[in-house]
Amino acid sequence: MEEVEMTTAIDTTQTVVAAPFAASSDHALPDTSVVLKLRNVDAFYGPRRVVRDISLDIARNAITAIIGPSGSGKSTLLRCIDRMHEVVPHARATGLIEYRGIDLYDRRIDPAAVRRSIGMVFQQPNPFPTMSIFDNVAAPARFNGLIQGRNGASDLVEQCLKRAALWDEVKDKLRQSGTSLSGGQQQRLCIARALAMAPDVLLMDEPCSALDPIATLQIEQLMVELKASYTILIVTHNMQQAARVSDRTAFLTMGEDGAGYLVEEGPTGRIFTQPRERLTEDYISGRFG
């Protein structure tokens, strides 16, 4: 996927006139390839601001990584997108988050509906403990009332498990408990479950941090396979992972006011080899975080 590179001044203090937002970014994604638009997003826990004024475009069928030190609001930002942030008491978000042209925070929109189109995989694998592997994957379709036909469930389960590269390993034990799998398998199960709702965006919040290196590699491989059909946004504190896997990278850090803000964003290759911001360079070379 090619993007048009707008020529910008190397001097980072100069903001490009046409840029709608202040952070350095290759904002030149053509509109048709943008699936999610974030503009001036703030997030709060009660009176405390944890995410400040973030504007970002997420490209379709690509993996975008959000990196940064802890406390920079990466996970919070992610959770704002599928409206999981507000689940915590006294938490709220402001600003514009547009998905395919729809303002996700519009009053008329039911948060549950948002979450059916934008899937999420958590840091800690969380298969339903009281359900079998089969039921875990079928669950979202079941309680959203979407199972069609007698074979609807088993077709869906097989399809999702195949997409999550788990089918071969579990096809003979579908009725066993979801928690009887290894960590990496459980996480792939959770991915399969998220895919069962046929989302087209998948949010992944540090999906590998609770897994061993081999399982991590499997998940990373899976992500690259999935991006052909889905848009993936992954939060990770592992820079190497971001460099390996993602097409675009956004770097967040905590400001003096304790809120996270966007420092720089662009194609992964460039961010890691020719970062525009000093902070980015410092983070990437390990000088902080």
């Binding site: 042209g101 189109s117 009332g145």
Partner: protein
């Protein structure tokens, strides 16, 4: 935009939305149903009892004959407060010591002790009355305010033990480790550090225990028995508000008895509420002090 929303965002089907709303409605209705009796009792007691209470009512003793008008509930008020006071004097130190024991001693013995306290907490109050009757009243040969206090103390004990144990468990680690590092022996630490720090919490537990004891009737029926005359002698049968209410309620066919019962009920509720709210207020103040501005 709404049309796009319908196709793109998989809105919740109507039946599921109805289900979700139904639960909200049911839960709200259930809560309101539960609150109706509270409001009803409160308003009844206040409306019926308020007119009865006046200075005479609070400072005179009841007439010998329940059906006679006039008189008051003085002996019941003093009896209640006196027995509750003695009960606290008995139960508080024992309760705190047992709580220390339970916190410190692990293994089988500690578990057994905690278990027995749990069982004690679950005893019906009338059974406690029987216990004290069998042991004290029979031995002494007569009913007494002391026996009543003892019964109340037994009822208060598990409440105090559990809430004090809770307080000790919630003590921040730095305090405990700090005392250790200064060379205090474990048990000395309790006296000089833990108890003073946990004092307000322990006090709250005491208040809640007292508010419970003050409202109890059953254990007093065959321990302190009740008394028509004014008496502060712990060795004599003693009157208490719940007992007075009970006896007058059973005779509520007589308007005088009925009024007396209502006035006494309002007085009792006021006392219980006072202790209860004071305890809760202390809890909230402690919580605020610990987390300012959160």
């Amino acid at each position: 935009m709404v049309a796009e929303y319908q196709t793109l965002l998989k809105p919740t089907s109507r039946s599921r939305r109805l289900q979700a709303n139904l639960v909200v409605i049911l839960a709200t209705v259930a809560t309101l149903i539960a609150l109706v009796p509270l409001v009803a009792v409160a308003s009844y007691v206040i409306s019926q009892g308020a007119g009865v209470i006046n200075l005479d009512f609070l400072t005179q003793d009841p007439p010998g004959d329940l059906s006679a008008t006039g008189g008051g509930i003085r002996n019941a008020i003093t009896g209640t407060l006196e027995m509750a006071g003695v009960a606290t004097l008995i139960a508080a130190p024992i309760g705190i010591l047992v709580a220390i024991f339970n916190t410190e001693v692990g293994g089988r013995i500690g578990a057994a002790s905690r278990f027995i306290i749990d069982v004690l907490a679950a005893l019906p109050s009338i059974v406690v009355g029987i216990f004290v009757y069998a042991l004290v009243v029979v031995a002494q040969g007569h009913f007494s305010g002391f026996a009543g206090s003892l019964a109340l103390a037994i009822i208060m004990l598990p409440v105090i033990v559990v809430s004090t144990e809770e307080m000790f468990r919630l003590l921040p680690r730095p305090i405990s480790e700090g005392a250790r590092a200064l060379g205090f022996t474990r048990w000395r630490t309790y006296l000089s550090v833990f108890i003073p720090t946990a004092l307000s919490g322990i006090f709250t537990g005491l208040l809640l225990a007292v508010s419970r004891a003050v409202g109890e009737t059953a254990p007093l029926i065959f321990t302190s028995l009740g008394n028509n005359f004014f008496s502060t002698d712990m060795n004599e049968p003693m009157q208490a508000l719940p007992l007075l209410i009970y006896r007058n309620a059973l005779n509520s066919a007589f308007p005088a008895a009925r009024d007396r019962a209502m006035g006494a009920a309002l007085t009792l509720v006021a006392i219980v509420l006072a202790f209860n709210l004071l305890g809760r207020w202390l809890v909230s103040r402690r919580r605020l002090a610990r987390n300012p501005g959160r």
